[in-house]
Amino acid sequence: MTGNVTIAGGAMTPFNRRKDGSSFRDWARLALNGALLDAGIAASDIDSLIVASESDFFTLQLNPAALLADECGLTGVAAMRVEGGGASGHLAVHAGIAQIESSLAQRVAVLGVEASASHLSGARMGDLYSLSFDAWTDGMTGVDSTALYALSALSFMARTGATSEDFARIAVRNRAHARSNAFAHLPLDISAGDVAASPLIASPYRRLDCSPLSDGAACIILARATDLPKADRPRARFRGIGCATDTVRLGERQDAGRFAGKALAAARAHAMAGITPGDINLAEVYDSYSGAQLQAIEALGLVDDVIRAERENVFAATGAVPVNLSGGLLGQGAPVGATGVAQIWAAAQQLEGRYPGKRADRQPTCALVDTHGGIATLNAVSILEASS
């Protein structure tokens, strides 16, 4: 990878359960117009729109890329929709990078949007999400997302000695990070005792171990620096990306608690970037559940001993590798198509030294962003650095 693809600008809406009557079309326009403003370019400068949205059942709108191109004043641009479950937003960014690297497009708007909270009841969303795994086996049985993550976490705990207290520390810390994030869904001031006292969902997971269903949108503009107006600030750029799948069925994995597909995606991203995991000094990690954050960090290879590092606060803002200073999915929220876009946007702003929320104590120079669909079944990893 040439390292030529920069993030020209970005924007996001608040992630939450909308109660103000606004629509997903409104959120998409807000995010796209905000990103154009941040990048200092006009809608007419965009030649490609890539929309990330997980399911037509959430929006009740098929062919959303064509609709949103029209809604956002981009009629005439090339457009496509990218979908890969929870990784949809991150995969859409990868598709945008490929378009620029191959000179198919010069300035790409990647727009993630999802109405995960306000359109359908939580129970019906759970029914739909349970089709994210093997719909013919787990889906037909009613083994839902939390149960699958719980079984994977139990396997991880048995192998590594991780405890519910370790998981609770993450649930608390990510929500504390979210308290500095004006866009966050769950900026909560909670204790480990609150996590332990929250309702049981699927042991070992309790309500506060789970990320929320959110509404919202996020957009970033990708381009080579030479195709953008001169900026008076550094722009983050992509140094390596990787994508890999794992078996869909948890029971077919050699170790149900190990995210092997994520490890493969990370190895590809590191190889493309020409760096080692030890060079990473900030990460936004896919914490759909508290324990999944530890499983992800293990797979990404960010530290040698993830449990020890967690207990020694390596992943706090003061640590060597701050993780999820945005609040992550647990704190910032998870409007699926927008999630990966917002993760990348948060890491980019940290590298550019202008993140408006919780900042790392030491200015990061190299950040890793990790997103997945299924239970780490379709994994997308990006490595970004600051450019002068």
């Binding site: 009740l60 093997d134 013919w136 086996t137 787990d138 037909m140 049985t141 009613g142 083994v143 939390t146 149960a147 699958l148 719980a150 079984l151 139990l154 396997s155 048995a158 309702p199 049981l200 969902i201 699927a202 042991s203 070992p204 997971y205 078996t247 069925r249 948890l250 029971g251 077919e252 149900a256």
Partner: protein, 147 residues
């Protein structure tokens, strides 16, 4: 605006139909790779190990040992290993009050489809192929425990 969408799918099961027919009858039918002999349950249409594209179907005893189980207020699930299978399997537990670490495959219980009419329940139970385990039973005793 308010919209209500009701969709009735009829999904072809393709080469995996023997496996699904087995589930609907409360029987465990695994796939066995014609090349490397890997036994997968749930059955697969191709081998995950050697990637051979042809498998045969092989009945298992239906007995399984629990590896991990997760309990919630509405349902309990487990990762189990069926006797004779080289894979593990995620299942729902039909009698979660039991703490036995073993059980056997059973038909999906009819009461797992709330808010449905009797006809809908009968129709779904007959056609929806779930992986359910009844704890504490062996195949010789499970018939009397099936709901």
């Amino acid at each position: 605006m308010k919209v209500r969408l009701v969709l009735d799918y009829s999904i072809n099961e393709g080469v995996l139909q023997p496996y699904f027919d087995g589930l609907r009858a409360g029987k465990a039918i695994a796939s066995r790779c014609d090349h490397c002999k890997h036994v997968a349950f749930p059955a697969r249409s191709s081998c995950a190990i050697c990637h051979a594209d042809t498998v045969s179907f092989q009945p298992l005893s239906g007995c399984a040992t629990v590896v991990h189980r997760s309990d919630g207020p509405a349902a309990s699930h487990a990762l189990v290993r069926f006797e004779g299978a080289d894979t593990q399997t995620t299942v729902a537990l039909s009698n979660p009050q039991s703490t036995e670490p073993f059980g056997s495959l059973c038909k999906p219980p009819a009461n797992q489809t709330p808010n449905k009419t009797a006809n809908q329940i009968n129709d779904e139970t007959a056609h929806r192929p779930g992986l359910w385990l009844c704890l504490g039973t062996s195949p010789s005793t499970k018939e009397s425990n099936d709901v």
